[in-house]
């Protein structure tokens, strides 16, 4: 059988065991009680039989001795009363005296304690009783004394019934109490496992250092926890190795690239120089972006990180406006009259906005302006009047190395992937919309912070 939970399994098997124990206990107690009852009954009736013997009077008629019971006892043994019956048998087992009107013996068996069934004027009755031998005038007689146990005056079996009910009312609550404790004990014992699940749940690529704590853990589960933690350890190592590989590789490329660049700069042939430098710079840009991407993969934003969007935008403009002028384009900043505090890390938001603006500048036509628009609700939008982005490309543009036009120079294909990652770190939504009559509006919706709490 399959069980959904450990708790179910324990409760179920425990209930079964307890029920079995209760059953065995009841049966055993009943048997024991019955035994006690029989011996008590035998002793009582034995005494009564002996008493009866005292009332047997010898009636000497002719040669045969006759036994007769005292008249004072006749009511007690009458068929009308129906509780006690007696018979006196001679040594051949023939009844010489009987309280029954038909004069038959009470029991067919001569065992010391026995049972029998009688026909009386009041109907058939079941009796239990004793055979007691006595000696009278050299003759051995057997006194049979039976009692109808279902008679209303007999309280022995009532005791049995009461006892069974008592057992029921004691055992059942006891079982329930034990099961209740089971439940409590198990809940308590399983609490560390629930905590462990929570801890494991929190381990992600953003929180690689998390582990399951061994504290309070039941000793039986500790090996599993240790094994799981070792597995997490191996995963973390592998993840970090993979992560540092791209960053290491990019770093390693930088020195040879620096050599190449300075060699080109030192060329005397200026036309060659003008041709080669942009290629080297493009390569350098790609490496730079690769490193940025690798870096943002490892960063996180704390809940209390605050950045001024205006400040971020001004820095981006300061960096890119001169380059834009060189390329006969403009950058305009709107909505930057006062500070806009948002939840975020300044250097990351700077990178994201820089990439968005660089991207817009790449597609903006000559003599046009790329507009950075800030809103008090924490939204920063970059507007260009380029060709726009078709609807079916709007998802792909955030993929690594995706480029609409692979021949377009200057693009690493990583800029928007970095933007996406940074947006994710800030739980910010990126929105790509059409700029009318043509062009693109890329918006980043950041969480604004009340100025009072930010200052």
């Amino acid at each position: 059988m399959k069980f959904r939970s450990l708790l179910h399994r324990v409760i179920l098997s425990h209930s079964f065991m307890l029920a079995l124990a209760a059953l065995i206990m009841t049966v055993a107690l009943n048997l024991f009680l019955h035994q006690v009852f029989i011996s008590l009954h035998a002793a009582t009736l034995g005494k009564q039989a002996e008493a009866l013997a005292l009332f047997l009077a010898d009636e000497d008629t002719t040669s045969q001795k006759r036994l007769k019971i005292s008249a004072s006892l006749e009511d007690l043994y009458s068929e009308e009363y129906g509780r006690y019956f007696y018979a006196v048998l001679d040594d051949k087992g023939q009844p010489v005296l009987s309280s029954l009107s038909n004069g038959k013996p009470i029991f067919n068996s001569l065992n010391a304690y026995t049972k029998g069934s009688l026909e009386t004027s009041a109907g058939a009755v079941d009796v239990e009783g004793v055979n007691v031998p006595i000696e009278r005038g050299g003759q051995i007689y057997t006194i049979q004394l039976g009692e109808n146990l279902s008679h209303r005056d007999v309280f022995f079996d009532d005791v049995m019934k009461v006892f069974s009910v008592v057992i029921f009312w004691v055992v059942i609550p006891l079982i329930l109490i034990v099961l209740g404790f089971d439940l409590l004990i198990f809940r308590e014992a399983l609490a560390p496992l629930r905590d462990a699940s929570r801890e494991a749940e929190e381990i992600s690529e953003r929180n690689l250092a998390g582990r399951i704590s061994r504290q309070r853990m039941p000793a039986e589960v500790v090996p599993l926890v240790d094994a799981a933690n070792r597995a997490f350890e191996r995963l973390e190592t592998a993840y970090r190795a993979q992560q540092t590989f791209s960053s290491d590789a990019a770093h390693e490329l930088r020195t040879p690239l620096a050599v190449l660049r300075i060699q080109i700069e030192n060329l005397t042939d200026t036309s060659q120089r003008a041709k080669l430098l942009p290629s080297v710079d493009h390569m350098a840009h790609m490496i730079e972006q690769l490193l940025h991407l690798a870096e943002v993969e490892t960063l996180s934003v704390a809940a209390d990180d605050v950045a001024d969007l205006r400040d971020v935008a001004l820095s981006v403009v300061a960096l890119l406006a001169p380059l834009a002028i060189d390329r006969h384009r403009e950058i305009e900043l709107q909505g930057a009259e006062k500070s806009i505090f948002v939840h975020g890390r300044r250097e990351l938001l700077f990178r994201a906005l820089r990439n968005l603006v660089e991207n817009a500048l790449r597609y903006a036509p000559e003599r046009s302006a790329v507009i950075i628009r800030l809103a008090q609700d924490g939204t920063v939008s970059v507007l260009d009047t380029g060709p726009g982005i078709p609807d079916d490309h709007r998802e792909q543009i955030f993929n690594r190395f995706w480029r609409h036009d692979r021949n377009k120079s200057g693009s690493s294909g990583l800029g928007l992937a970095i933007v996406k990652r940074i947006a994710d770190l800030h739980d910010a939504k990126i929105e790509i919309a059409d700029n009318l009559p043509h062009g693109t509006i890329a918006s980043l919706h950041l969480k604004p912070i009340e100025q009072s709490s930010a200052s």
Binding site: H251, A258, N266, A321
Partner: protein, 224 residues
């Protein structure tokens, strides 16, 4: 000037030295921290260019040693490391500037000039761009070597822009420079002066251009 170049990549070091020498700088090359220590002990340098990843240690070691010896030798770090954390560490270590590989020679020289000049301010500040030369010490403007006279505010404005030529000068910075604090300004006061300055510059044949960065400020560039 005399420059110490600490770089373990021989090819890069040779090319760099060639460029620096061609610009008139005496350049000594050290490929390890140990060699650099010897050079520093025996020669008086005016600046040092340091690579971070060296065979016998980290370039920061050298930065700390130099600063511990109470030397204000201008130090420019040249590195392949570029994370935010690296930059912060680099500037906190006591280095004067931080440049990532690969770099343009022009930028290296410009930054070197800045950190050296910070230590020995020249007696006369000459700001120049294309055919325009402005002597900030004597407040004299030359266009094609001819003296040009400008009203005070326009002159101040030009100086602000020339001091940060090629870079974005925020409007607020110009306001602070041109007007005393607390003065009530018309919303387009700066625009008016920029407009006037542009006219003056055009009249005297200055080959420089003031670009408007809307919402931010201005940027002075060579005319194309």
């Amino acid at each position: 000037m005399r420059i110490l170049l600490v770089e373990d990549n021989e090819e890069l070091a040779m090319e760099l030295r060639k460029s620096l020498v061609s610009l008139g700088h005496l350049t000594s090359w050290a490929s390890t921290i140990e060699e650099a220590r010897k050079e520093l002990a025996s020669t008086q340098f005016e600046a040092a260019i340091l690579d971070l990843g060296l065979p016998d240690g980290d370039g920061y070691e050298l930065v700390r040693e130099v600063r511990a010896a109470k030397s204000d030798l201008p130090l420019l770090i040249l590195t392949a490391r570029s994370t935010v954390q690296d930059r912060v560490t680099g500037l906190k270590s006591g280095a004067d500037d931080y440049l990532t590989k690969p770099f343009a020679m022009e930028e290296l020289v410009a930054r070197l000039d800045v950190i050296v000049r910070r230590l020995n301010p020249p007696s006369e500040i000459i700001l120049s761009l294309n055919n325009v030369q402005f002597n900030a010490t004597h407040r004299q403007l030359l266009v094609d070597s001819r003296t040009v006279s400008l009203p005070v505010r326009e002159m101040d404005l030009l100086e602000s822009l020339l001091r940060r030529k090629g870079r974005v000068v925020p409007k607020e910075a110009i306001e602070e420079r041109l007007f005393e604090e607390g003065r009530e300004l018309g919303s387009n006061a700066i625009e008016v002066y920029v407009h006037r300055l542009r006219k003056h510059l055009a009249e005297c044949g200055a080959q420089i251009e003031i670009h408007t960065i809307r919402g931010v400020g201005y940027c002075l560039k060579e005319q194309e």
